[in-house]
């Protein structure tokens, strides 16, 4: 195991607990198998969508709006049609009769506004980059060149960029129905009682900046038809969902549409979508009778891959003087962008049950308003709603700790659900089945060297070292393993959350596992092989995993929300169990024994107490030959299973981050990072390690680097990777990882899911660390991404507010409670006046906090 890691697949330290779960020689579960799919993926010698070449294929290029908001008064494509190699060119109006509207599958309230969303704009463009015309040509170069011959007349309209302004009376409208898409409320307990006379109220506003998911593989689509049926190849996470939605929206009957997700190079939620380009490619193939291909450029992707996050969060925490949390009130404004796409309105709701975090409290109140702006729609991005929730509560709990002068770890300890209290039903109504926050935190503190770092921090403060040390804590949980169908139904989602698997025993004893999950880099082929190998007693190498093609894997709900192992992996196990029962019946028949007397061990069925047995491979051949089968036994061992979980799964963990902040330049460097995650039982520790590393990197990206920026006219400024910065390995520290293993009780594998954990946990750990470093200077928050310039300005503004403030010796001085740009709320009585306005004021909420306790929606 160590050798494999040392060989360099994963940088960083081996998860400490790998030793803990050292598997027996025969067991695949828990083995750090190298991923069997990686050789073809990393060499690119595989079927990426853009690698697909079909006879007579045509190439599509889209002309995209250079304006955020404008009326289209004319589109002339005739000159483009006469360009060399051009087969066709269309405007939105040309396609208006058949293009339909892109679907939103999550109408979160009865009165939600779901505007018509034409795949190609017809009368009005509402975000920069929206497609207004297309060219189809014999190669992609000619298609791109011909775009320049298309003339579009725009009549500019006012952009709508700021959520608070968008909701104000008389604001320019994105859609006729107004800029409010919905307001969704949820509450538990008596929130007024919790806040009434609360000795401490922490009231903060945080900006979850807009992010651009940056999968390594750009989106690509190939659509083809044989005149009757259609095949759509797409770099998608959701071939099954896509097929259903396209059948509903394009009029192509479902049985005439095959959708294939070939190997897909990352998604992070951005390929959990029904895209305009997918619909248009199908329509073009139908019109032209020839295969068409479209592959986005990176800049096109920055504009038109759905964006992530973009919420304005107001969180208020009421607490007692000993740090006990009485209640949490949350108000969100969530930027929908210009349209509601597949699960756009549902993303903030996935966080709605998580703002209470791992903590016990008496009351909770949540309100979210979805707001239309003239920006690219937002939708799922790694963690989808839960990183935002975790950030807000973990930042606020740190502020509470500081306000009370209690160590931030201690404040958490006083509030978290203790290990004896599981299963625990939270104030948000979820039942956390298992967890051990004490164990994960103790382990993390020990690995981090918490006390030593605190001592160094005190020393640097005393020395007034220009490079200050900050320590950030994040204790997170998340609801994942999406999802119990019953719960999705209660949240008005358009589908269920089950997953399907089929297991085929081939005549030679080899195994094909067919899964409804749709891997795009996660390593399902390896992990599912490990599960099947253990369950069936066959060698790991004898298992193949088929996925992503609706004509092969005909039932599925695909991959997102850390659901694949927790739902789909369990379905694989269930199908294997059914195969085993069939094999047992056949073995009993062949050995003339009762099935109850046949035991299974290591791939062999044996009559108890005898040496007589049959291997599963022998039974596979016997079933194939069908010479001697029990009465009524169909000649196969194959089986299928569909698993629908009863509950979400709840991974948790403690992440600790130490940063060094150069107070002269504002640069923040992560000095050390410890992640102890409890993802339940582990199928493959190497894959878990990779997911944790990548997840942390993406969360650090939000904390320090990434932000989609629009200018005053609404143009996206960050259209290239020189402007939209994502961290590379060179910008990240070594991650020290560890695990505790508290098996989930909600599924037979005991697994919890790991895809989103690192991203959810890491962002608040980093920002808490930065704030911790800067508190002695009077800095109370730095808006994300915490760029050097923002940190420098925060320091300069704090200095201007309280001249002469310098690193204090001993305990950090009390920061100014309340948040300056939100003047109407939440200062502790007697607080000092707030500092001068930040250079980038957060436009806060205009109305005071509401406190309706009656839920108008909610899970249960």
């Amino acid at each position: 195991m160590t050798e494999e890691l040392d060989a360099g697949l994963v940088a960083g330290r081996i998860a400490e607990s790998d030793q803990m779960s050292e598997p027996s020689a025969e067991r695949e579960m828990g083995r750090a198998r190298r991923r069997k799919e990686d050789a073809r993926l990393v060499t690119g010698r595989t079927m990426w969508t853009d690698n697909i070449q079909l006879p007579g294929m045509l190439y599509v290029a889209f002309l995209r709006s250079p304006m955020a908001h404008a009326r289209i008064t004319g589109v002339n494509v005739s000159a483009a049609r006469s360009r060399p190699g051009v087969v066709a060119a269309y405007s939105g109006r040309d396609l208006a009769g058949e293009q339909g509207s892109l679907p939103c599958a999550w109408p979160v309230t009865e009165d939600i506004v779901i505007p018509d969303h034409p795949p190609m704009a017809v009368d009005e463009v509402r975000y920069p980059g929206e497609a207004v015309a297309c060219v189809v040509a014999t190669d992609r170069y000619r298609a791109a060149d011909a775009l320049e011959a298309i003339a579009v007349d725009y009549e500019p309209l006012d952009p709508v960029l700021d959520m608070t302004e968008a909701l104000a009376e008389g604001a320019p409208k994105v859609h006729e129905a107004g800029n409010r898409a919905f307001t969704w409320k949820f509450a538990g307990g008596d929130i007024d009682a919790a806040f009434r006379d609360a000795p401490v109220v922490i009231d903060r506003t945080y900006v979850q900046q807009r992010l651009i998911p940056t999968a390594m593989e750009p989106r690509a689509v190939v659509a083809t038809t044989d005149g009757d049926g259609f095949t759509l190849y797409s770099a998608t996470q959701i071939p099954h969902v896509l097929r259903v939605m396209l059948a509903m929206t394009t009029g192509i009957p479902e049985h005439k549409l095959r959708v294939v997700a070939p190997d897909v190079g990352g998604g992070f939620g951005s390929k959990l979508q029904v895209t305009a380009e997918e619909v248009l490619a199908l329509l073009l193939a139908r019109r032209l009778g020839r295969p068409v291909k479209w592959t986005e450029s990176r800049s096109e992707g920055n504009l038109t891959v759905h964006h992530g996050r973009d919420q304005l969060q107001r969180i208020a925490v009421a607490a007692d003087r000993d740090g006990r949390i009485r209640g949490v009130r949350v108000e969100l404004l969530a930027d929908m962008g210009a349209y509601l796409m597949l699960v756009t309105p549902g993303v903030p709701l996935l966080g709605a049950f998580m703002y209470n975090g791992i903590y016990k409290m008496d009351a909770y109140d949540f309100t979210c308003t979805g707001v239309f702006t003239t920006k690219m729609p937002t939708d799922a991005y790694r963690g989808a709603g839960r990183p935002e929730a975790t950030f807000a509560i973990e930042r606020a709990v740190d502020e509470l700790a500081h306000e009370l002068g209690i160590d931030p770890v201690e404040v958490r300890r006083r509030n978290w659900i203790t290990r004896e209290e599981f299963p625990y039903t939270t104030i948000a109504g979820l039942t956390y089945d298992s967890g051990d926050y004490e164990a994960a935190t103790e382990k993390a503190l020990a690995m981090f060297g918490y006390d030593e770092l605190r001592a160094e921090q005190a020393d640097r403060r005393e020395r007034r070292d220009p490079v200050q040390l900050g320590i950030g804590v994040s204790t997170y949980t998340e609801m994942c393993g999406l999802a119990p169908s019953r719960v999705l139904g209660s949240l008005s989602y358009g589908a269920g959350g089950w997953e399907h698997a089929a297991v085929r025993l081939l005549p030679t004893g080899k195994v094909e596992v067919v899964t409804g999950t749709s891997p795009h880099g996660q390593g399902h082929e390896t992990a599912w092989s490990q599960i099947a190998a253990d369950a069936l007693g066959v060698p790991f190498e004898d298992v193949s995993v088929l996925h992503g093609d609706t004509s092969v894997a005909h039932r599925g709900m695909d991959t997102y929300g850390s659901r694949s192992l927790v739902v789909g992996g369990v379905a694989v196990l269930a199908a294997c169990e059914k195969v085993k029962e069939r094999a047992r019946e056949l073995a009993a028949h062949l050995m003339e024994a009762s099935a109850d007397d046949v035991e299974f061990d290591g791939g062999r069925f044996r009559v108890r107490g005898t040496d007589e047995g049959r291997t599963i491979q022998e039974l596979a051949l016997a079933a194939f030959a069908a010479h001697d089968l029990p009465g009524g036994f169909e000649p196969r061992l194959d089986a299928e299973a569909t698993f629908d979980p009863d509950n979400f799964s709840f991974p948790h963990g403690t992440h600790l981050c130490a940063v060094e902040v150069d107070t002269e330049t504002g640069r923040c460097a992560i000095r050390s990072y410890v992640a102890v995650d409890d993802v339940g039982s582990v199928v493959n520790p190497l894959i878990v390690e990779g997911q944790v590393h990548g997840g942390i990197a993406q969360g650090v990206g939000q904390a320090l680097f990434e932000e989609a920026v629009h200018d005053a006219d609404g143009n996206l400024v960050t259209t290239t990777m020189a402007d939209y910065l994502i961290p590379s390995a060179a910008d990240l520290p070594e991650f020290t990882t560890g695990r505790t293993e508290t098996p989930a009780t909600s599924n037979p594998l005991g697994v919890k899911g790991v895809g989103e954990a690192g991203t959810i946990a890491s962002t608040p750990a980093v920002v808490n660390a930065i704030t911790d470093a800067l508190r002695p200077y009077g800095v109370r928050d730095v808006r994300m991404p915490c760029t050097p310039e923002r940190i420098w300005r925060a320091l300069a503004e704090a200095e201007a507010a309280v001249p002469g403030q310098a690193p204090a010796t001993g305990p950090a001085p009390a920061a100014v409670p309340g948040f300056a740009p939100v003047p109407t709320h939440g200062s502790t009585p007697g607080a000092a006046p707030p500092p001068a306005p930040a250079s980038e004021p957060i436009r806060g909420f205009v109305a005071p906090a509401t406190s309706e306790s009656a839920p108008e929606g909610g899970a249960r």
Partner: protein, 294 residues
Amino acid sequence: MIPAPFDYVRPASVEDACRVLADAEAAGDEVKVLAGGQSLLPLLRLRLAYPSALVDLGRLPELRGVADRGDHVYIGALTTHDEVMRSGVVREHVPLVALATATVADPAVRHRGTFGGSMAHADPAGDLPAVALALDCVFVVRSSDGEREIPAAEFFVDYLEPALGPGEVLLGVRVPKLGSGWGFHYEKFHRTAQAWATVGVAVAVRRGDGGAIEEARIGLTNMGPTPVRARVAEAALRGVAPSPAGSNGSDPLREACAQADAGTSPPADLHARPDYRRHLARVLTRRAVGAALG
């Protein structure tokens, strides 16, 4: 990310290249010289540049290589960054060039991008123009009319605008050896490892026998439309004896470097507004001078 159509010419010799350039420019065509392509190709792909033709110098071996020429090191225009930073001659005699080159972009870019290409692109955010300015390099250019030399102080005319005339090709750069007693440092401040410098400071500094600074040369990256010399700070540093802060709390080194941004007009972009760049220039100059002094 597909460039507009253009013609492609690969001359067989420098003479050829000069002739092609002169003819094209006489005909009013906009032609661009292609060296390593690491800056030009992205501009083409984003359709920010629409040249009618590219003249590819990539196969002209005479433009490639490093030579020790006594009082200076000659670096051929087509020498890649990787070759420059690994050159023993460069590292020994003009170490500032090696230090700065090692910070350019990433290994893939450094294996294709060229020394002369970076200079002729005249991007003030590039790391090498500021170095050339600090070291008073001399640019050797050629046209059909013959060769001429352009001092670094005159080479960077404006944003992305070098002092190359019609039909002129950059052959190479003479980097003066400064001799013994000099210390060097390139301080680059950037947000990610591959990002351009938010601000960069190239420093060469020499102490006299008494330990005081006799001469300082400071070139600034990304502090204006062209790379700039921090002349005011250079003058202020002369005679400064770098020592721990004086008993009265004064720090003459810091005070001198606090003038590093004098006379600059730094740009505003996503990564920094001008006042922050000015601040960085001051802080980074002090650090760079300190590091160069060893």
